[in-house]
């Protein structure tokens, strides 16, 4: 794992701050097309992010964060994630996430007319991602 040549630059930017900027060996996250893991020398690609857990591997060190929306630009030696919402586990209020999860499940189950189902599902996915990232 000490092979430094396999590292690439990972930059995570949110509208408010630069969330993360570091050399890493691998990054994994969810896209709308499914889960992906990215190593160095990936072909150039732009992907849309789906709510889920972002895993950053740096040598033996593994870091996780809840990533909710945004998109990512992958270049062979650099990955830029433009995250609309992203949180470290320490920033998450589990109680609130549980509540949001219950609320979203309720809405999906009832499926009352006028409910925006896609939005409710997205809210549910977000809540689940938050809870999972804290648990692990």
């Amino acid at each position: 794992m000490a092979d430094d040549n396999r590292n690439f630059m990972l930059k995570i930017i949110t509208p408010d701050r630069v969330f993360y900027e570091e050399e890493v060996s691998m990054v994994e996250f969810n896209t709308v097309e499914g889960e992906v893991g990215i190593y160095k020398d990936h072909i150039p690609m732009t992907m849309i992010i789906a709510p889920g857990i972002l895993t950053i591997t740096r040598g033996d060190e593994v870091k996780e964060a809840a990533l909710h929306a945004g998109f990512t630009e992958v270049l062979p030696d650099k990955v830029t994630i433009l995250a609309e919402i992203i949180e470290w586990p320490s920033e998450i209020d589990v109680g609130r996430a549980e509540e949001a999860k219950a609320r979203a499940e309720e809405r999906i189950r009832e499926n009352a007319p006028g409910t925006d189902l896609a939005r409710a599902e997205l809210a549910l996915k977000r809540a689940v991602a938050r809870i999972e990232s804290v648990r692990e």
Binding site: I13, P44, M47, E84
Partner: protein
């Protein structure tokens, strides 16, 4: 000539006004620092967002996507970002002028007002206010921008509006603020980016999912980020404009006080001289 007491009273009143303008200047200086920092922090995000969208559009050149062409409706939505409070020089009226003199037809416009001043003025001129929110501008957050862009894109998708504009004050630096009218939708491919792509400075970019779907998802984010950027910059500009206005008000007050002090001293000397003359004249008359 005004009496000594009048001059003194006037001077006192100007002095207390000056204290207020001084305090307001200090407050907006502090706020400006914070807003400026925010604007700078969010720059990285927008530059990156802009480049991505630009390269996408350059690649997807001939794409026939709804977001890339004017809608059927003649209606145009304009988001107008102003402040909630005045005393900021020409800040608010400059933004309003963008709308009133922007070559739009009054009946075609739907105003999405952020900030009370712009809303009040445009309402008085007889524009249609479709949506208003005064609180956002105090503490702009990304969630607020998401909410507004969601509303607008929905109206756009449903064909209620054909074009979307953003009127705000761009923040160049502390003293230079530019009222800007920006077209959000339909998105126009920026020329410079297309040129860059031609010179081949960037590797060919792949999209996943494919162009059409990717545009569907990225354009709303692009619009949101532009709105958020507008909010943050407007906030910084507001405080910058207020700081300048209050600074010149303080300087003007200083000048007026100087002038009044001189008048006061003259009046006092005048009254002393007059008294002396009277006494001497009286003494001469007795002897």
């Amino acid at each position: 000539m005004a009496s000594m007491r009048d001059i003194k009273r006037r001077k006192g009143s100007i002095q207390s006004t000056q204290q207020i303008t001084k305090a307001m200047k200090l407050v907006s200086t502090v706020k400006l620092q914070r807003a400026k920092q925010r604007a700078e922090q969010s720059k990285a995000y927008f530059n990156c967002m802009y480049e991505t969208v630009a390269s996408m559009l350059a690649k997807a050149g001939g794409l026939n996507h709804p977001y890339l062409k004017t809608g059927d409706s003649d209606k145009k939505a304009v988001i107008v970002i102003t402040s909630n409070r005045g005393l900021a020089g020409g800040y608010n009226s400059n933004v309003v002028k963008l709308v009133t003199r922007g070559g739009f037809k009054k009946e075609d416009l739907e105003i999405y007002a952020i900030g009370r001043k712009g809303k009040d003025t445009l309402q008085r001129y007889g524009y249609t206010i479709k949506y208003e929110n005064a609180d956002i501008i105090e503490e702009p957050s990304y969630v607020d921008a998401m909410e507004i862009s969601r509303r607008l894109l929905q109206s756009f998708a449903e064909g209620e509006i054909g074009e979307i504009y953003l009127a705000y004050t761009g923040f160049k630096n502390t003293v230079v603020h530019e009222p800007t009218l920006l077209k959000l939708l339909p998105v126009e491919a920026p020329e410079s980016a297309a040129q860059k792509q031609e010179t081949g400075s960037k590797a060919m970019m792949n999209f996943e999912p494919e162009d059409d779907e990717a545009l569907d998802m990225i354009i709303p984010k692009y619009v949101t980020s532009l709105i958020y950027g507008g909010l943050v910059e407007a906030c910084a500009s507001e405080n910058g404009a207020r700081m300048q206005a209050m600074d010149s008000a303080t300087t003007n007050a200083e000048e007026m006080i100087d002038h009044l002090s001189l008048m006061y001293n003259r009046a006092r000397q005048g009254s002393i001289t007059q008294e002396l003359t009277e006494i001497i004249a009286g003494a001469n008359a007795i002897s």
